[in-house]
Amino acid sequence: MAKSFRGGVHPNDRKAYTASKHIQSAPVPSRVIIPTRQHIGAPCTPVVQAGDLVKKGQIIAEAQAFVSAPVHASISGKVLEISEYPHPVFGTCPAIVIEGDGQDEWQEGLPLSRNWQDFDRSELKEFVRQAGIVGMGGATFPTHVKMAPPAEKQIDMLILNGAECEPFLTADHRVMLERAQDVMTGTQIAMKILGVTQGFIGIEENKPDAIAAMRKAAEGTAIQVVALKTKYPQGAEKTLIKVIADREVPSGGLPMDVGIVVQNVGTAVAIADAVQNGIPLIERVTTVTGGAIAEPQNLSLRVGATFSQAIECCGGFREAPVKIIMGGPMMGLAQRTLDTPIIKGTSGILALSAADVNVGPERPCIRCGRCVETCPMGLVPSMLSLLGERSRYQEAKEEFNLLDCVECGSCVYVCPAKRNIVQYIKLSKAQNAAQAVKK
């Protein structure tokens, strides 16, 4: 019996477009736009200038702050310029543009060959930091920071997130099938860094082949593969922890408050690549799909390649897209241009057709209670939307637990009045944050 949690929704998963397609390497782009900020935390400072020649894997922007991750060149060539470019998360951001030389040459000494068992915890953590690894599920929190919890937090468990509960996305699914051994190695390295003995990999039941592949790879290790009920948002950190470890992350807290660190399966592979081969995070698997894409694919794409290059690899558009999304359809970010670059957290590129999005005019809330039933966080989303609509932001925070919302979008998905609940919630959070800054 697969485990589950309270609330949640069952959207049509639409994964059939790409679930059985092998990961294809996209052609090396002739030009890349690499943002200096691809993570949650402080931006990096460029360490190259226009005109410099760079090699693949070379650091081009360095992290100064603790919560930050360095950025590497994803192709070899010449730095054209450093200036503001579209960014999938921040709108615009300073980016380093590299014109490729067609050689795709590695920095000297790369890739190398190391055995992870020969190194201690702090050395392994340093390899992860140098490789610029961030959470690849989309949250992009620097991985080495997650691996260094404050001393007072006793960590006893690592959970690897292979749920991939977002509709359409199959990148993690394919990674688990095609790189099962690397997923396992990355998990073991992460467990060693954290000094934990309990390791779990949670995978939704709709990926039986991935469950089987991971179980096979896990033989002889302490890592357990857990089948999870297929229900969105199964892969949200808090619900995943609740289901696998039966621990509730306290309101306002982090997983480490209950002794757990969660990593994405893609991140595990990046850790394995970084430690064993010294390869930094310059390439990732991204699902390019949606009703408007001609031939949906799972692509291995260089960081800094643009959305339009990725879409061209998939035969272009079948019909005019209404929305372009980075990430999944439930929590992904709508994009305004195809010149947006792929970053370390780009798990999916969706081109949604008019039939996919089903937007209607927003109607008044009829208090049907569906949002309350589906909210995995136990909130009253209808009230949050009404308070947001009426600019009563503080009331939303103080009386209706605004800040506990994880913005999974389940409430909006089920709403018969087509209310933009998450939009009101994001607005209310931003207004409360602005108010806090003023004080």
């Binding site: 306290p250 272009g316 558009f317 709508a334 195809l338 089903n358 018969p416």
Partner: protein, 331 residues
Amino acid sequence: MSAESKFEPGSLAVSASPHIRCDESIAKIMWTVNATLAPAALFSVWYFGMPALLTLVICIAASVGTEYLIQRWQNKPVSISDGSAFLTGLLLAMNIPATVPWYMPLLGSLVAIGIAKHTMGGLGYNIFNPALIGRAFLLASWPIAMTTWPSMPSQLDGVTSATPLGILKLQGYEKLVQVFGDQPSLYKALFLGTRSGSAGETSVVLLLIGGLYLIYRGYINWHVPVCMIGTVAGLTWLFGGNGGLFTGDPLLAMLSGGLVLGSFYMATDMVTIPITVKGQILFAVGAGALTVLIRLLGGYPEGVCYAILLMNSVTPLIDRLVKPVKFGTRR
């Protein structure tokens, strides 16, 4: 084919997540509820004849028309196609005697839509169930016409203008059983709807079929009708008899009056009841208790309408009191 070939820059919609939605809508819910009421409404036309049809048509036309005129006058988008004004009209017609003069359904609809719904802000903002406000307005304004019931079929000619609950109140339980012949015939008449009463409340079996379908579709929670009807049955059994405690007739209490119509279709009106299931259970038990209070001790033979309206008034309080348990408050 290039990525740009079917793409015009600037044509992309940019909005907050999520980007997909289920295919549920207000119109779908409302028209489904209307459809599930249709069998009981048609039964009333068959049983009470042309007056019932006329009342239905007037109520629905007046409700939809009032909403249309108000929205035009306020320069708001006209939303009569969503079926909610239609539903109010239909429910009002089913909640009044079929034989009232034509202007009563008309005025009742005006009050229901114009005052109970649109002075509050329209769909989603009304505190009280509009159809029940319409009925309460008519009952207060024309108490005689609103309690003069169409005659029952031939074999019961002698007892024209009284509902089973009316007979029970004024003449007692024995007389009621006598009117229908024996107890089984009484229950059968109540279950099938061959008795006098408000136009659409009589056919318990057809209302149940419609209500169960709504539960199956997830449009109403089963807790509400079960708790309301259960409370009425229990309290009537306890206090409703002449021979002391536990001598009342719970089955009669469940099948008579507007209880089945009210508990499946008005106590489940999502706009005017609490939003959490726990709150809805509280609401339903309260409405059931008030119904019994009015039936047993009040001046009226039936109390479902006022019971639900009274509970509507405390819905905001229940919602303040009963909130879902926030994730992360237990470990």
